[in-house]
Symmetry: C2
Subunit: 391 residues, 2 copies
């Protein structure tokens, strides 16, 4: 195991009706003037936004609003949010929504207390300071409610890039699984896929002797395999929603990924797809992962055999472990199809002829140097072959 | 799943040589005058105490010392520590040792800022305020390095009782697995048993639909089953020590126990044994758990069958699940014996004729009302029978 630090100081309020605690929690964590940041649509229609405002008012808190966050959140709205917060002397940002809204809130929080362009943080500068953030989560997926990470798409060039820093870990996150019961099956399945991707990206490691984190990752994958189909079959299943929601947070607050090298090449390759085609991140990951895993399988057959046996229930082929490893990848692909996810280029509107453009942006865009690094280092040719395997 | 809150704001520095960060971390978390609290023996002999003092000095921090913590830490030293801290205007407590030292430090930290007797907290009063605490852990066992809990023995009457409160969660914990490589096999095995007890106590629940926390607990039990024998065979195995150390923290910071009712009756019954015979807590637990589990087995056969199949690799007997459940308990008992743990009264110096005294203190001592509650509510007769099963 490698040396590491771990710090997850987010307060979680989990369960039914917990959104009523929003006002008290903002006060507890020092806020007095709040920006409520959200997407629109269901947050407004369901009455959630009104309940949140009532909670802030009951706590005697002033607030301004900024809606309009879109999936794959854009830099334009971040600039708008920063300007609004400065003008209104906002001292606390409350994200009401999913990963996109939370990530946009994190970008605003960091940009508000920074003299330069917030995009610097998405080009490698670590975030050391930010306004405090709280979240009210409406979809189990990104894990942003418990993570120090944010992903934003720069509209100029459509670069989708990530930033990190303990300063953007939420002070509190309100997780009410009932808020996710109205999600359409497709969005739910995209969330499930994203959570499983966060687990696989941590599982694919070159660090030896990491049994404890291997086992924790496997535990969360097993949870998703059990609860995923339950919730697709019955969207109203509160208990399944609850198990998925806690698994989604645990999958990405990093407690199961400490002390080990990780992959994240699937995420990096997917970001090009959702940036170009504006597909859901989870859908792009469902297309990317099986192809990626088959391509890098021979780098460590036993790692793929391990997850095949322990998680997918495959029989170990002691004469030919590669067969077991492949069976695990096939089982994952079938699972994704079973919950309604796409697994080919065509299903997300991606085109074979765009592959050179995707590879160019992936390997050279935004300061790239011709390759991406993770479980295996992949150059332009590797990346092109992996995209081709998705057709 | 039940509603819950979860808050684990401890900063963890994990790995080789991390004790060198002690001074910087005390400063980061606001300390200027430190009480270094420790047991003695190995912390002094190994040079660890000197390294810690050097780190504090390098950071320009003043400190006083209080050694002498014993296993099953006593109230007398806590009173002494409180007096010392008040006299010396200490504003930060640094525990260097295992669970006993950390628990004693937590009691001092709470007592320092409380006008009444610190023992009030161990009679049910919640700890709302305390001096900040840091820890440098020297044995993987109690999980106190990441928990809001403390257990102290009151010398007058030898009552061993627990207290809780987020205020006594450590601000930071330094976890260097190398510091545990010199531990004797017996102490190591006691630690392994304590960690497994923290997992079983959470596993034995009456809450339905808790797949995610079931799976996380199973993951950590599987880790202990794999790494435990490795470290007993080769105490110098850094990697096995590292996996156990992180598992020990995760087992007790409560992330795997949220949203579910729990047991803790094994701990409660064991506290009487270590209070009366001064045996190691882990040893007392090894004697208690198999007897307890057999006694309460029929309350939920399928829960015991689940852990038997998923964790102990038992074959499911579909015609008679009770056989599988029992096989799992037997497998656990054999595992405990294999790592050198006692599993009978005689091995820890306990006597059959003391059972009425044990039951009296357990059920009526310190304000008890004739029974203990958890997975199953147990009255005097039940408790006497369980102690008899340990003979």
């Amino acid at each position: 195991m490698e040396n590491f630090t771990f710090y997850s100081p987010t307060f979680f309020a989990f369960g039914k009706d917990t959104e009523q605690q929003a006002g008290d929690l903002v006060k507890r964590f020092g806020g007095s003037k709040v920006l409520i940041h959200y997407g629109g649509g269901s947050v407004v229609r369901s009455g959630l936004l009104d309940r949140v405002k009532a909670s802030l008012e009951n706590a005697g808190l002033a607030f301004v609003e900024l809606g309009g966050v879109k999936p794959n959140p854009r830099s334009g709205l971040v600039y708008e949010g920063i300007e609004l917060c400065k003008k209104e002397n906002v001292d606390f940002i409350l994200a009401v929504g999913g990963g996109s809204t939370i990530d946009s809130s994190k970008a605003i929080a960091a940009g508000c207390v920074y003299d330069g362009d917030f995009w610097d943080f998405y080009c490698g500068k670590r975030i050391e300071e930010a306004l405090p953030i709280g979240t009210i989560l409406t979809i189990a997926a990104a894990g942003s409610e418990g993570s120090p990470d944010s992903v934003i798409t720069k509209e100029e060039g459509m670069f989708k890039r990530g930033a990190s820093g303990d300063a953007i870990r939420p002070k509190f996150s309100i997780l009410n699984p009932a808020l996710t019961q109205t999600l359409p099956a497709y969005q739910t399945a995209c969330g499930i896929t994203d959570i499983m991707a966060h687990l696989y990206e941590r599982y694919l490691t070159n660090t030896k002797d990491v049994e404890v984190t291997d086992r924790l990752i496997e535990a969360l994958l097993l949870t998703m395999i059990y609860e995923g189909p339950r919730v697709i079959e019955n969207p109203d299943d509160y208990e399944a929603r609850a198990n998925i929601m806690w698994a989604g947070m645990m999958a990405h607050n990093h407690s199961c990924g400490v002390g080990r090298s990780q992959d994240w090449n699937s995420h990096t390759m997917e970001h090009e797809l959702s940036a170009l085609y504006d597909c859901a991140h989870g859908a792009g990951l469902a297309v990317t992962m099986p192809a990626m895993f088959k391509y890098v399988l021979d780098h460590d057959v036993m790692r793929f055999a391990r997850v095949a046996v322990r998680v997918w229930g495959c029989q170990m082929d002691f004469d030919d472990p590669r067969k077991t490893a492949l069976a695990g990848i096939e089982a994952f692909k079938k699972f994704l199809i079973s919950i309604g996810m796409p697994v080919t280029f065509g299903e997300i509107g991606a085109k074979k002829e765009d592959i050179p453009k995707l590879v160019q942006s992936l390997c050279y865009g935004n300061g790239g140097e011709g390759k991406i690094s993770g479980f295996v280092t992949l150059d332009e040719k590797d990346c092109a072959k992996i995209y081709e395997m998705m057709i």
